[in-house]
Amino acid sequence: MKKKQKLVKYDKYGYLFVAPFILAFLIFQLYPIIYTFQLSFTDLAGWETELNYVGFKNYVTLLSNELFLKAFRNTWIIWILNFIPQIGMALILVKWFTDARLKLKGAGFFKVTFYMPNIITAASVAVLFSTLFSYPSGPINLLLVKFGVLEEPFEFFRSVTATRGIVAFIQFWMWYGNTFIILTAGALGINRSLYEAAMVDGATSGQMFRKITLPLLKPITLYVLVTSLIGGMQMFDIPFLLTTQGNPDYSIETMTMFIYRQAFLGGRNYYFAATASVILLCIILIVSILLFKVMNSKTTGDRKARRRIRKAGVR
């Protein structure tokens, strides 16, 4: 009886402890999201303060707007171009560094070095690369001409392919170390005895990686995929500062850049920017849900692997 009273008395303090968080969440996060939704159904622009509701008109206009569709395509192209090599490189590194037979040294040093570009201000990185690739006498051009790769300097930022490639490369360069570290952490959590059993059975390194490591890494790979996608869909700093205005020919204008330009440049079309934000949110939600579904629908390789191991290991 006494105990119960005590519990009740103290547990109310819980509300006080979480109150500041909840309050800040309501003011700074929930309200702005609701407000953004609301704005997407109005015609608010410029310095107006009057709201007129226009229904779904903005959505219809935006989904047939050439520039928005282009930004949508650009965002996906750049993200895919960076993600495939990023996850590929990270998985190759994981394979090497988790291989019990190779016993590689210096994993700690490599992690620190590979992760370094990730911590540096993206804005600074973008301006740095725009200077490195500058025409006609940026360091990259000087090197390429010096070693005879090119006859004369190349204007990287006049070429759509080259500019997109550079953005994708920067993203890859900034993030593969992060992915490598996260996947390694996942791989270290795999039970050693699985590998030992496979080794006894004479499995090759490649087989062990394909049949044990990869299937068991699936959940954490999905996590990396989804977080990378959410980040990639919001790409802004690098493409915004690498060239001006998403040049050449708006080829690296991402969805967030589109939102920014609509809201803060020219006619300040808040209604358009808000609508694009809502569409972006929908894209992220739909794709994330699809990914979870696809990744989980395949019979879990996890169980298969264990079964094989058991067959192999237990004579």
Binding site: L16, F17, F25, P32, A123, V127, S137, Q234, L241, A263
Partner: protein
């Protein structure tokens, strides 16, 4: 029989190949920063004539060019530091408070609060930026640091992390014992929980600080007064026409924004890598 016979003579070859690939990646990670720092010490003529990895002697000259054109780097430092330090403090203190509240007390609606935290983790910040900006405009808070600092009070990733940390390291009996000694609830949190949380707070603190320091879009959206520019915003001004031909100055300007981060990184790299490995760290 010890080292898999299958690998045999290719073993050494494979190892060399792997180290070669890693060496290339190491160079790739370092070289842009190396070129940057070297070029910050060279004159624009040197930079445009030849490529070099050896520092020169024009740092002072570049610095004069840079500051002579209104690139107020120290002001930028002070501004970025103010915002990053304040928001880190708020994020750490209030996240610890929230995590402690969720771990120690059993109150109604606890699960709802959890759901909310998980929900914010999934929703990207940029989705609400238009509403956020308009709201600040209506409150006349644009061009102030308030909207850059106070939202840090609700930092869901930090709450998650600290909650896990408390669950695994904090003996709940301490609370009962302290209550018997007549300590207040907040006093227990301050005097017992915070010291125990210190290592976790340090890890999360580094991430919160770097995240705020690197934040570009939010300040760009809100701040218009040049005296209030943060470092990433100043870097943007290096792309303006007045620096068009002053490559030495541009490199120096970028260097000055990057070198402090590199130093911080190398000092705390062990904690940072451990923090990344724990996953769930959101930029």
């Amino acid at each position: 029989m010890k080292k898999g016979g299958r690998l045999g003579k290719f073993y050494g070859l494979r190892i060399s190949w792997i180290y070669l690939v890693c060496a290339v990646l190491v160079i790739l990670s370092i070289i842009p920063f190396w070129i940057l720092i070297v070029n910050a010490t060279r004159s624009t003529e040197q930079i445009q004539q030849s490529f070099s990895l050896i520092p020169s002697v024009f740092t002072g000259y570049n610095y004069d060019v840079l500051t002579g054109r209104g690139f107020n780097i120290w002001r930028g430092f002070a501004n970025s530091l103010t915002i990053a330090a304040s928001s880190t403090f708020l994020a750490l203190y209030f996240s610890a408070l929230t995590a402690y509240g969720l771990v120690i007390y059993d109150f109604k609606g606890k699960n709802t609060i959890f759901a909310i935290i998980a929900f914010i983790l999934m929703v990207p910040t940029q989705i609400s930026m238009i509403g956020f900006y308009r709201m600040m405009l209506n409150l006349s808070l644009t061009d102030s640091y308030i909207p850059l600092i106070f939202p840090a009070i609700a930092a869901p990733a930090t709450v998650f992390f600290l909650r896990q940390y408390l669950l695994s390291t904090f003996p709940k009996d301490l609370v009962s014992a302290a209550r018997i000694d007549g300590a207040s609830e907040l006093g227990i949190f301050h005097r017992i929980a915070l010291p125990i949380l210190k290592p976790g707070l340090a890890t999360m603190g580094i991430f919160a600080f770097v995240g705020s320091w690197n934040n570009f879009l939010m300040p760009l959206m809100l701040i218009s007064n040049e005296d209030k520019y943060t470092l990433p915003m100043l870097v943007q001004s290096l792309k303006a026409d007045i620096y068009r031909t002053e490559f030495g100055g541009i490199y120096l300007g970028i260097s000055m924004t990057i070198v402090p981060l590199l130093v911080i990184y190398l000092v705390f790299s062990r904690y940072i890598i451990a923090g990344v490995a724990l996953g769930g760290i959101k930029e």
